[in-house]
């Protein structure tokens, strides 16, 4: 446990999280960053997902659904462990015999580390909903490219007291693959559109360039590059304070990164580009509760209408 003094931001996080448990909106797992949703939030999430459904249907997005695990090989190919080694949820499993099981059981009983008894599996938890889609796009895209709509529980190992920074959380994404022009236009259109959607939820929100949390010193260079090239935009809501706003959605231009790795080509034979947008469902829930209160029946009529509550 950190010996640093608790900041006022920490206090705000802990206080709000306690209230969410007390009001029986979130279910405490006892582990930081992992929470369950009680019935009112199950309904709210369904409403949020329904709202995004209505948007992506307008664009003719094709749905896909993947389980919350990806092949380890996929993370290796995209260079995930160069960029975010600290966030990865690697999955290990026991593959030993009776003798090995006795040793494992002894360690478990004593509260020791299970890791030496376990072997790596071929998969990890999913870091972002769009990852498993890219290998399926290998080959030549149809004329005009493609647009997909996916939802997944994602995992990032970021222990925090902030109820808006969970370790296991849902990201609802749309993914565009096509020519550089098609993809850049799609992303540019969504910046304003996304702002409008979050504003319709009655949330104070602004758009800004951003960077992913690349690891280490090399990561500082990666962040600088990403910002300079405006590859990432976020919609930010000052849930706790204006100085520490929370990103509730992001719009990410990958240029040819995934297309190059997985061999995705446009109809005219050129290398494809991809981009994705992601709505942080659990973050939107916290932003809504913090802004409008715990009783959804008292929320502004316009917000209830947007959510069809």
């Amino acid at each position: 446990m950190s010996t640093q003094a608790i900041t006022s931001l920490d206090e705000a996080h802990l206080r709000f999280k306690a209230q969410l448990f007390q009001h029986k909106l979130l279910l405490d797992s006892g582990v930081q960053g992992i929470v369950g949703r009680a019935a009112p939030l199950v309904e709210l999430v369904a409403s949020l997902q329904g709202m995004i459904d209505r948007e992506s249907k307008k664009d003719g997005a094709v749905k896909a659904c993947f389980p919350p695990v990806v092949p380890r090989e996929l993370l290796r190919k995209v260079g995930y462990m160069d960029n975010f080694p600290n966030l990865c949820g690697s999955i290990q499993s026991f593959v030993g015999d009776d003798k090995a099981q006795l040793a494992l059981a002894e360690t478990v009983k004593k509260g020791g580390d299970w890791a030496p008894h376990l072997a790596s599996t071929d998969f990890t938890l999913t870091p972002a909903s769009c990852y498993p889609l890219y290998p399926t796009l290998a080959g030549t895209l149809p004329e005009g490219g493609v647009l997909y709509d996916l939802n997944c529980y994602c995992f990032r190992h970021e222990p925090s007291n902030d109820p808006a920074r969970l370790m296991s959380f849902e990201i609802r994404e749309n993914v565009r693959a096509g020519t550089p022009t098609e993809v850049q236009k799609w992303r540019a259109d969504w910046l304003e559109r996304g702002l409008g959607i979050i504003e319709a939820l009655g949330l104070p929100v602004f758009l800004d360039t951003a960077s992913d949390p690349f690891f280490g010193r090399g990561g500082k260079m990666m962040k600088a590059s990403q910002r300079e090239l405006e590859l990432k935009f976020e919609l930010l809501v000052p849930i706790w304070s204006k100085d520490s706003p929370t990103a509730v959605a992001s719009f990410n231009y990958h240029q040819d990164h995934f297309a190059h790795v997985f061999g995705i080509y446009t109809a005219d034979g050129g290398g494809a580009h991809t981009a994705c947008l992601g709505f942080g469902i659990d973050r939107l829930v916290i932003a809504l509760l913090k802004t409008h209160g715990f009783d959804m029946k008292t929320w502004p009529a316009s917000v209830r209408q947007t959510l069809m509550l």
């Binding site: 260079g79 010193r217 090399g218 990666m222 990403q226």
Partner: protein
């Protein structure tokens, strides 16, 4: 810049920049990004330069324009070595 520094910079680029052309034919002002240097490769070049020249780039110098050409790298190294 001195021939020695020029040669050393080119050696680091050859090892780390992952360009789509031969480092030997690069001219001093050529855009390295246009020649295929990715963001990840730029990190490799940065770390390679730090090792070869025994310097450390401060955060303020972790910018694309610092690494965009052999000349800009040479200028940055001169700043750091003074």
């Amino acid at each position: 810049m001195s021939t020695e520094i020029y040669v050393q910079i080119k050696a680091v680029l050859a090892a780390h920049a992952e360009l789509n052309q031969d480092v030997a034919v690069l001219n001093i002002d050529e855009d390295l990004f246009a020649a295929g240097m990715s963001s990840r490769a730029t990190v490799g070049v940065m770390l390679g330069l730090e090792s070869a020249f025994e310097i450390e780039f401060p955060d303020a110098m972790l910018r694309r324009d610092v690494f965009e050409s052999i000349r800009s790298i040479g200028n940055a190294l001169q700043t750091l070595q003074n």
